[in-house]
């Protein structure tokens, strides 16, 4: 049977679409969709007099299920089987993946440009969609959804364009092709380079976008966008810090937020009691957090796996409860307020009051509250990049290789003369230090901190970012942080559906990529050829 199919695709020009089979699949799909939609869409509770009232919207549920069926039918007929597959096979011989990429970029570009440029186009689409449902609530909801999708398309379009531009520039400026590439046959090279090179441009493209972001988002939404970006960057930094402990050394740490708290309270207390500036407090906060990292490290040295996870979890809670109850130092649940805001080389961002020159006066600008936000954005960007640089470097140093070896096999490490005690403690200390940096930035940005900001939920979120991104992967953390923090901001308008989307996407990603978005491991040293190690071989560490 299988052989016959292969023969047929090879010999005949167009495989006849199997209408019956497609119809069957479509009916099954719409049946499943109906079961789901009846419960989710078809019945709605609403506040009415004397309690809750049920409202039935079976029409909407049926039309959604029917849409699923029709789409499935069309896909079966034209995309997966007959014509579409034929087109893909005919027009996509090996080596033209680059062309498809280009086509996708152009499509995203056109779609993005259309929504971006033509005023009201997104609204018009939303109107059309809501007319189909003919329901006022759906009207507003679909409008929000289309608006968000439009924004997403624009974001993707910007990233892809930036990647394309960087790639083109690289090609332009690299006149000489390295000698080692000459040996590879051109046909094999073409396919390999297009995709790989495209992938390599992802990180630089993100960096370029990050640097010019304040300009990109200029407009009425600038403040909100930058606040979100600052939040995302804080989590990226925390993710990179935790990545050293969990991703490299393989020590599962469920109490990472403790170090974030130590950093935040260090800055808050030092600056409010002694009036020290942020740049003096930052290293101190890092050192204090590292100290607490070692304090945590000592008792858990011999613990592995679940036991380690439980003790670190308890440690995170202990720090929070300590902060809550040590009234005389931390002011307990009331928190610490009036933490000094940042200043630009001594120039305050305030509008009035205080002594000294103000930022806007010095530069002769109109006062705008957003300057402070932009400054904060660049501080966290610089801090995050520093953490990234340091952990990338550390990974290539003996200590980094020892961390990874520890994750792979602790006993073998000891047999090779590696002191696993100091290796584990340095992992805890350096991870904690980066957490402390992020914490003191958080305190400065908020101006107010209380133990409520450092609950287990934060630890879980940071760990989710690291695991989702792929243990040990730097760029994976970025993508995961943008996806997790960004999406919860992005879908804020969808209210309760937000958590549904969050949960569903987590499940989908864990089924689709169980080892995280970026599962391959890049070697730290290369003799002849750089080969990515598949995620299946890399161990996750026993704790």
């Amino acid at each position: 049977m299988a052989e016959g199919v292969v023969m047929a695709t090879g010999a005949r020009s167009i495989e006849a679409p199997d209408v019956g089979e497609a119809l069957k699949q479509a009916i099954i799909a719409s049946g499943i969709a109906l079961i789901l939609f009846i419960a989710i869409v078809g019945i709605k509770t609403e506040n009415a007099q004397g309690g809750l009232a049920l409202i039935y919207r079976f029409g909407a549920a049926f039309s959604l299920a029917a849409t699923v069926g029709v789409v499935r039918f069309l896909f079966d007929l034209f995309v997966w089987r007959g014509l579409g597959r034929e087109i893909m096979q005919r027009w996509l011989p090996a080596g033209t993946l680059g062309t498809v990429m280009t086509a996708l970029v152009i499509a995203a570009y056109l779609l993005g440009a259309y929504y971006f440029i033509v005023p009201g186009s997104r609204l018009a689409l939303a109107e059309t969609l809501s007319d189909i449902f003919g329901d006022n609530e759906w009207r507003s909801r679909s409008r929000i959804f289309v608006e968000l999708t439009g924004q997403l398309v624009i974001a993707v379009f910007i990233v892809l364009s930036a990647m394309g531009i960087i790639m083109a520039l690289r090609r332009l400026f690299s006149a000489a092709i390295p000698a080692s590439r000459e040996a590879v046959p051109p046909a094999a090279r073409a396919e390999k380079t297009t995709l790989a090179e495209f992938g390599q441009q992802f990180a630089p493209a993100l960096l370029v976008i990050a640097v010019i972001l304040p300009v990109l988002v200029a407009g009425p939404q600038q403040r909100y966008a930058l606040d979100t970006a600052i939040q995302i960057l804080t989590y990226i930094m925390l993710g990179w810090g935790l990545n050293i402990v969990v991703g490299l050394a393989g020590l599962l740490d469920l109490g990472y937020v403790a170090f974030y708290a130590v950093g935040a309270y260090s800055y808050a207390l030092l600056s409010t009691s002694f009036g020290w500036s942020f740049w003096i407090c930052l290293p101190l906060a890092g050192i204090l957090a590292a100290f607490w990292g070692i304090m945590l490290g000592f008792p858990v040295l011999r613990l592995r796996g679940d036991y380690l996870a439980i003790v670190t979890l308890a440690f995170g809670e202990m720090i929070r409860i300590l902060l809550l109850n040590w009234q005389s130092l931390t002011n307990g649940p009331n928190g610490i307020s009036q933490i000094p805001k940042p200043s630009f080389f001594g120039l305050s961002f305030d509008r009035f009051g205080g002594s000294g020159t103000k930022f806007h006066e010095f530069f002769g600008l109109q006062y705008d509250a957003v300057y402070r936000i932009i400054f904060l954005y660049y501080i966290i960007l610089a801090l995050a990049l520093m953490v990234n640089f340091a952990s990338q470097r550390l990974r290539r140093l003996p200590i980094g290789r020892a961390w990874e070896a520890l994750r792979e096999d602790e006993i073998a490490c000891r047999s090779l003369g590696i002191n696993t005690v100091t290796t584990k403690l340095t992992a805890f200390a350096i991870g904690a230090m980066f957490g402390g940096f992020a914490g003191s930035f958080f305190a400065m940005r908020q101006g107010f901190i209380s133990p409520e900001s450092f609950t287990f939920h934060e630890s879980a979120l940071i760990l989710a970012i690291v695991v989702l991104g792929g243990l040990g992967s730097q760029i994976g953390v970025v993508v995961a942080a943008v996806a997790l923090i960004g999406s919860s901001e992005f879908f804020r308008d969808l209210e309760d559906y937000r958590m549904l989307i969050f949960g569903a996407s987590m499940v989908v990603i864990m089924v689709w990529r169980p080892r995280g978005l970026v599962s391959g491991r890049a070697p730290t040293v290369v003799l002849k050829e750089h080969k990515v190690i598949s995620g299946g071989l890399v161990k996750e560490g026993a704790g």
Binding site: R393, A412, L527, I533, L537
Partner: protein
């Protein structure tokens, strides 16, 4: 092959108890430099326990283990040292019965991890390395050269950039030997290096071990069940049974020793008393 002079490793009256179980009972033997000493015995005889005592993974209940490092005037007392110190300072390297490679790291990375001590020092405990100083880069280049030497010798140089877990079983065994040699040891302890190898591979292993002994002047301590390997390359054999030493000597002597034969093959009913009288049990 044997040389006059003091033994490099001396095990004196070592006993290892796990609760009521006596895994090693009053064991004494010595290994000489430039010699291959094999430890053989039936399953459960306590061979791997002896290895774990020598390499510091277990602390022996009683007894003393001395190692005379050529570059060190005083002998190291291994029973008092931490396992990682034994590897790093005393120069004892080991491999494992069930291979323990860093499977998610490349072959070359495995060998660089083995050179952690000197490299870490060269990187000023990461500070010089973090700043990318020349001193560290030079040390790393040297470490890569040293690793390449061993990969070349063991025929793994073409796989240097592959993940260790991707290697075939025989290659993994050889990589483990290369990795332990990268710690620059004075004595190499191999726990069943020929297990799972085909006859051609184990013949190759024999050549490699002889070459390591002759070219690098190492003492090799070997646990092995494959008698072809043991009889072929050992200079000296220690036989254990139920944690006790039952024979000690050159291969020809061991081959004909009745207690050894009894331990391996068992004895006929009527010979039991005779043999027991001889063994002293």
């Amino acid at each position: 092959m044997s040389e006059a002079g003091p033994p490099i490793l001396q095990v004196d009256h070592v006993t290892m108890r796990f609760g009521g179980l006596v895994a090693v009972d009053d064991l004494s033997f010595a290994a000489k430099p430039r010699e291959i000493t094999a430890i053989i015995g039936p399953n459960g005889a306590g061979k791997t326990t002896v290895f774990n005592c020598i390499t510091g993974f277990y602390k022996p209940t009683e007894g003393m283990i001395q190692l005379r490092h050529p570059a060190h005037p005083e002998p190291f007392l291994l029973e008092r040292m931490e396992d990682h110190e034994i590897a790093a300072r005393a120069g004892v390297a080991r491999t494992f019965q069930n291979i323990r490679l860093f499977s998610g790291m490349t072959v070359l990375e495995n060998l660089l991890v083995a050179q952690h001590g000197p490299l870490n020092e060269a990187s000023f405990f990461s500070f010089a390395g973090l700043l990318g100083l020349k001193r560290y880069r030079k040390a790393e280049a040297e470490a890569v050269d040293f690793a390449s030497y061993w990969l070349e010798k063991l025929g793994l140089i073409d796989r240097a950039d592959d993940a260790a877990g991707d290697l075939a079983y025989g290659d993994q065994r050889r990589l483990e030997i290369a990795r332990s040699m990268c710690t620059r040891p004075v004595i190499l302890c191999l726990d069943e290096p020929a297990a799972g190898l085909n006859p051609r591979e184990s013949a190759g292993l024999n050549d490699t071990l002889r070459w390591i002994r002759d070219e690098h002047g190492l003492a090799i301590l070997l646990i092995e069940h494959d008698m072809g390997v043991v009889m072929g390359i050992s200079d000296h054999i220690v036989v254990l049974d139920y944690g006790r030493k039952i024979a000690d000597g050159a291969p020809e002597f061991i081959r004909n020793d009745p207690t050894v034969i009894a331990a391996y093959l068992g004895v006929a009913e009527d010979e039991v008393e005779l043999v027991e009288a001889e063994v002293g049990r």
